[in-house]
């Protein structure tokens, strides 16, 4: 499964489990308008670390949380330097 589909699937499952209504998941969707709250994003980071072995937010102090869904996916797709 591609990184992109892993992330989309994780977002959909987390939204369902946390009873959140998701906006359509397009690349330019602002994460603040996605329907997920900050705890849901923490869950997403935890789950993706488990599945991909990566946590881009701890890999460097400079990474700030992305604004759009496309940026979030790019962060995970980008190979760890």
């Amino acid at each position: 499964m591609s990184t992109r589909s892993k992330i989309i699937q994780a977002i959909e499952e987390i939204a369902a489990a946390q009873k959140k209504t998701l906006a359509p998941l397009t690349d330019d969707l602002a994460l603040t308008n996605s329907g997920l709250d900050s705890l849901c994003f923490a869950l997403l980071v935890a789950r993706l670390e488990d599945e991909t072995g990566r946590d881009p937010f701890s890999e460097s102090d400079e990474v700030s949380f992305p604004v759009t869904l496309g940026e979030l996916i790019a962060l995970y797709e980008h190979e760890h330097a």
């Binding site: 489990a17 946390q18 705890l39 923490a42 869950l43 980071v45 935890a46 789950r47 670390e49 488990d50 072995g53 946590d55 701890s58």
Partner: protein, 240 residues
């Protein structure tokens, strides 16, 4: 059985918690810098239930990797007992800065950072228990322990707000505040000295490490499913 990480499990309270949890069928991952004879003996008796992971918890920047390794080796982590700690005394005005920093690093920064990474496994499972070992010194004054007291009080604030944060995900977070305990230290005092300390408590005796361990096993059990964000004091009533 469910995996529980106990920091500082080589002796004292941590070892007693490890023994009680093995009895209750948990799998214990015991962290300390060095293994003691007592921990080695406990492992020999229950080789399938208790594992030793040597690690210096003051190495903050390696805690993420530690959490990953333990998760990969043992599977999901159900419980985390933040127990390792040092009790360095000192009059604040003359206490070496390095001692102040060491206390804060091991007693405060390290458990917060370890929890940050271990709680992720619990979040993924939608279940977990965290117990932070504080002290009655967090809420009662004691000369020479101001920095220690600050670290122990911090664990209570940490407990309450984290309980709010992760409660929705099925994770309970509590603190245990032991009083002055019957340990090797107090064992070496003479009767009069021990009497004097015990005499200040409601029950006229000292609590021991097993009492603290039972409080922790309770908080991990299903019986405590509706208890979160609290402090359980185990001090034979010395702060009553």
């Amino acid at each position: 059985m469910a995996n529980v990480i106990i920091t500082g499990a080589s002796r004292g309270i941590g070892l007693a918690i490890a023994q009680a949890l093995v009895r209750d069928d948990y799998t214990v991952i015991a962290i300390a810098r060095q293994e003691t004879e007592e921990l080695a003996a406990a492992r020999q008796q229950a080789p399938e239930s208790i594992y030793f992971a040597p690690f210096d918890l003051s190495e903050i920047d390696k805690l993420h990797e530690l959490a990953r390794e333990l998760r990969a080796r043992f599977g999901p982590i159900y419980g985390l007992i933040n127990n390792a700690g040092i009790g360095t005394e000192g009059i604040l005005a003359t206490m070496p800065e390095s001692n102040i920093e060491k206390l804060i690093r091991l007693n405060m920064l390290s458990p917060i950072m370890l929890t940050k990474y271990v709680v992720r496994s619990m979040m993924n499972e939608g279940a977990g228990r965290i117990v932070n070992i504080s002290s009655i010194i967090a809420s009662t004054g004691y000369q020479g322990l101001s920095v220690y007291a600050a670290t122990k009080a911090s664990m209570i604030g940490f407990t309450k707000s984290l309980a709010r944060e992760v409660g929705r995900l099925g994770i309970n977070v509590n603190a245990v505040a032991p009083g002055f305990l019957e340990t090797e230290l107090t064992g070496s005092m003479n009767d009069a000295q021990r009497q004097r300390i015990a005499g200040r408590s409601a029950l006229q005796r000292l609590a021991n490490v097993e009492d603290v361990a039972e409080a922790v096993t309770f908080l991990l059990s299903d019986k405590a499913r509706n208890i979160t964000g609290t402090v359980l004091t185990v001090d034979a009533g010395s702060t009553a």
